[in-house]
């Protein structure tokens, strides 16, 4: 059994107006990785490549030790993906979707599914077309979680959710991680969610990874306060302040 759940190395994919390049990512068992970055930075493309939904031009992708996208069918037995593009049938009920996913995946845990239905306040008889955006996300999450996948990949799971629903979604994600063999990769532009539940943060901007490191290191380094002050100014006595003013030799004055 491998401890590395997902590995992307030197991945590249170009579109007419956008190129994703040199993407290196590693998700270890027991970890939550948050993918952050502005809209259009390449978060969703990275996730789609990791899931084998989009083929990379260059570089390698291994999901649970399988080569992607070639061996995606084998990998996906133990991987669940939650995204807006995952289709739900609007005229079918919550219960119909549960039975449908249960019929495809032998790992489906019916008791857990039932408990989740209650916790997330969904009802089996509800039709998808009558659900709010938050309820749809919760249904997708339920369908993914009840399979008890080793890897859970979510594209913007909390976007557009009210605070209560967000809280419920984060709680369910954290309960997955109680099992140290499992892992989560999720993208979000809500930095608070990412900060709260990620062990590792990968920051993407304009198609490239700006930084990928463990969260505590990331926050310690990025919560810096930069003061621009004239060289003669004394810095205020604040804890943790480091004077990093460039030592420029000042021109001699007349």
């Amino acid at each position: 059994m491998t401890d590395r759940l997902l590995e992307l190395e030197g991945v590249r994919k170009s579109y007419r107006f956008f190129t994703l390049r040199d993407i290196d990512l590693r998700l270890e068992a027991g970890q939550v990785m948050g993918l952050v970055g502005p809209n259009g930075a390449g978060k969703s493309t990275t996730i789609r490549i990791a899931m084998g939904l989009t083929a990379q031009e260059r570089g390698s992708v291994r999901l649970l030790g399988r080569t992607m996208p070639q061996d995606q069918a084998a990998a996906k037995r133990d991987v669940a993906f939650v995204s807006d593009d995952v289709g739900l049938y609007s005229y079918a009920t919550v219960g119909w979707h549960m039975r449908w996913v249960a019929s495809i995946f032998p790992s489906w845990d019916a008791r857990y599914a039932e408990a989740l239905t209650k916790r997330l306040n969904l009802h089996e008889a509800q039709r998808v077309k009558g659900l709010s955006r938050g309820e749809r996300v919760k249904l997708l999450l339920l369908l993914a979680l009840a399979r008890r996948p080793r890897v859970l990949v979510l594209d913007e799971p909390t976007a557009g959710l009210d605070p209560v629903a967000r809280h419920e979604v984060l709680a369910e994600l954290m309960s997955v991680i109680e099992d140290e063999r499992r892992g989560i990769l999720f993208s979000s532009h809500n930095t608070q969610d990412v900060e709260q539940i990620s062990d590792c943060i990968t920051f993407i901007d304009r198609g490239a990874i700006v930084e990928s490191s463990d969260k505590e290191t990331f926050l310690d380094r990025w919560r810096r306060l930069h003061l621009v002050a004239p060289t003669c100014a004394a810095l205020p006595a604040l804890p943790g302040v480091i004077d990093s003013r460039a030592r420029v030799s000042s021109p001699s004055r007349p």
């Binding site: 939550v32 809280h167 954290m174 991680i177 539940i197 505590e216 926050l219």
Partner: protein, 127 residues
């Protein structure tokens, strides 16, 4: 139950550390008692494993917690710990009081008098 607040500007691991200290100080977690595993506490507080791990590590460094390899994390069995923690907590409150007094222009003598009054009043109530 430990909770993390986004209104609190301090890093999450510091908030966790303080709440764990308080739990021990009020006796919810007794000296020598086993406390939840890192993963269990992460799931309960909805805070990442790495943050809980950092809080536990820092508390181990302070001698508040002890981790025994393969057995779990325990409150240190030092009996004085509870009292030390309560003292530290008291100092924090006194510092805050002194700071606020200075901000609103109350002299140290007046602050001390007020504290005495409050303490006496509480004693009266307790009788």
């Amino acid at each position: 139950m430990l909770t993390i607040s986004h209104a609190d500007p301090r890093p999450m691991y510091l908030q966790l550390m303080e709440q764990i200290r308080r739990r021990i100080a009020v006796g919810d977690w007794q000296p020598g008692q086993e406390i939840p595993s890192i993963r269990a506490l992460a799931a309960a507080t909805k805070v990442s494993v790495i943050t809980v791990k950092r809080a536990y590590l820092e508390l181990e460094r302070e001698g508040v917690l002890v981790t025994r390899q393969g057995r779990g994390t325990f409150v240190a069995s030092n009996v004085e710990l509870g009292r030390d923690l309560r003292r530290r907590e008291l100092d924090e409150h006194l510092e805050a009081a002194a700071r606020i007094a200075r901000e609103i222009g109350i002299e140290t003598q007046e602050l001390a008098d007020r504290l005495r009054e409050i303490a006496e009043r509480n004693e009266e109530k307790a009788k």
